[in-house]
Symmetry: C2
Subunit: 124 residues, 2 copies
DNA sequence: CGGCGCTATATTCAACTGGATATAACGAAA
DNA sequence: TTTCGTTATATCCAGTTGAATATAGCGCCG
C-alpha cells in the first residue's frame, strides 16, 4: 500500500487531512471499478468507510472529486471527475518529489531502526 | 505545532510510525525541561502518553533516544542522548527538504481547498 | 412491473485510545 | 530519616473509531 517504504505523506487543510495514501488509493479504485462499493471490496474496506472518505473528499475541495449516480442499469455507480484524477496525479507527484528529497535521510533511519521481532519487549 | 502548514511527515518502520511531529516535539521539550513529566506538562500531554512515546522511541532504534534516572535531588529526570538529538536534527532536515520539494504542489492544494466554516454542509 | 445492484443513511456493538487517578520505588538533599 | 519530584506502572473510565447490520430509495433492464 505504501508506495514509498518509510514515508507517509499527508496533506492537511484546516483540521483533518484532506489527502493521504488511503484516499489516493480509494480514488484510483473507484476509477477502476466504477463504484464506491466495488472499490471498497477491492480494498477490503467497509462500504460505509469508503463512502465517508468520498464524502470527506468532496467536502474538502471546491470541485467534486467523485460524482455518484443512484439507480439505473448497474444500480448506480461512482465516477472520478477530471479534477479527482488531477488530484491523485498531483498527490502522486508530491510523493515522488518528497520521497526523492529525503531518500538519503530515510536510509539513515532504516540503518538504525531496530528490526527484532516483537514479543514481550516493552511492557516490562 | 505543524512547522510546515499543509504537510505532515511520518517516518515508518515496520508497523507504527517510528518518528513524527509529535515525537520530535516531545524530544525537544525533554531536552529543554530535563524530564518527561516537564515536557508533558509543557505540551499539555498526560505523563502516561509522554512516557509511552518515549518507550516507543527507545524501542524503535538500536540506540536509546532518551535515558532516564529515578530518584535523586530533583526526583530523577530524563536526558536526550546524542543519538536522540541527531534523530531530531535529521527529522527536521527531512521536513525541510520534503517541504521544499512540494511547495508548488501544496500551493495547488491550498488554492482549491474549500475553506468555508463548517455547519451542516456534509450530511445532507 | 419486479428484480438487481448501488448509493445513502441510521443504528448497534466491539475494540482501541488516551485521560484521570493511584501508587510504589527511588535517591539526593535538607 | 523525612521530604520531594520524578520515573514507572496498574487500573478504571469515557470518547472515538470503524465494522457489521439493516433499510430505504432509485432507475434501468429483462
Amino acid at each position: 500500500m505504501a508506495r514509498y517504504p518509510g514515508l507517509t505523506l499527508r496533506v492537511l487543510a484546516s483540521g483533518p487531512p484532506a489527502m493521504g495514501p488511503g484516499k489516493a488509493a480509494l480514488i484510483s479504485h473507484i476509477e477502476r471499478t466504477g463504484s464506491i462499493s466495488g472499490a471498497a471490496r477491492a480494498m477490503g474496506m467497509s462500504y460505509r468507510r469508503a463512502w465517508q472518505l468520498v464524502e470527506a473528499l468532496n467536502d474538502s475541495f471546491d470541485e467534486p472529486v467523485v460524482v455518484t449516480a443512484i439507480g439505473g442499469r448497474r444500480g448506480g455507480g461512482a465516477q472520478v471527475t477530471a479534477f479527482g484524477l488531477e488530484l491523485v496525479k498531483i498527490y502522486r507527484r508530491m510523493e515522488d518529489r518528497a520521497s526523492a528529497a529525503i531518500t538519503a535521510d530515510l536510509r539513515w533511519f532504516a540503518r538504525r531502526q531496530r528490526k527484532p521481532a516483537r514479543s514481550g519487549t516493552s511492557t516490562r
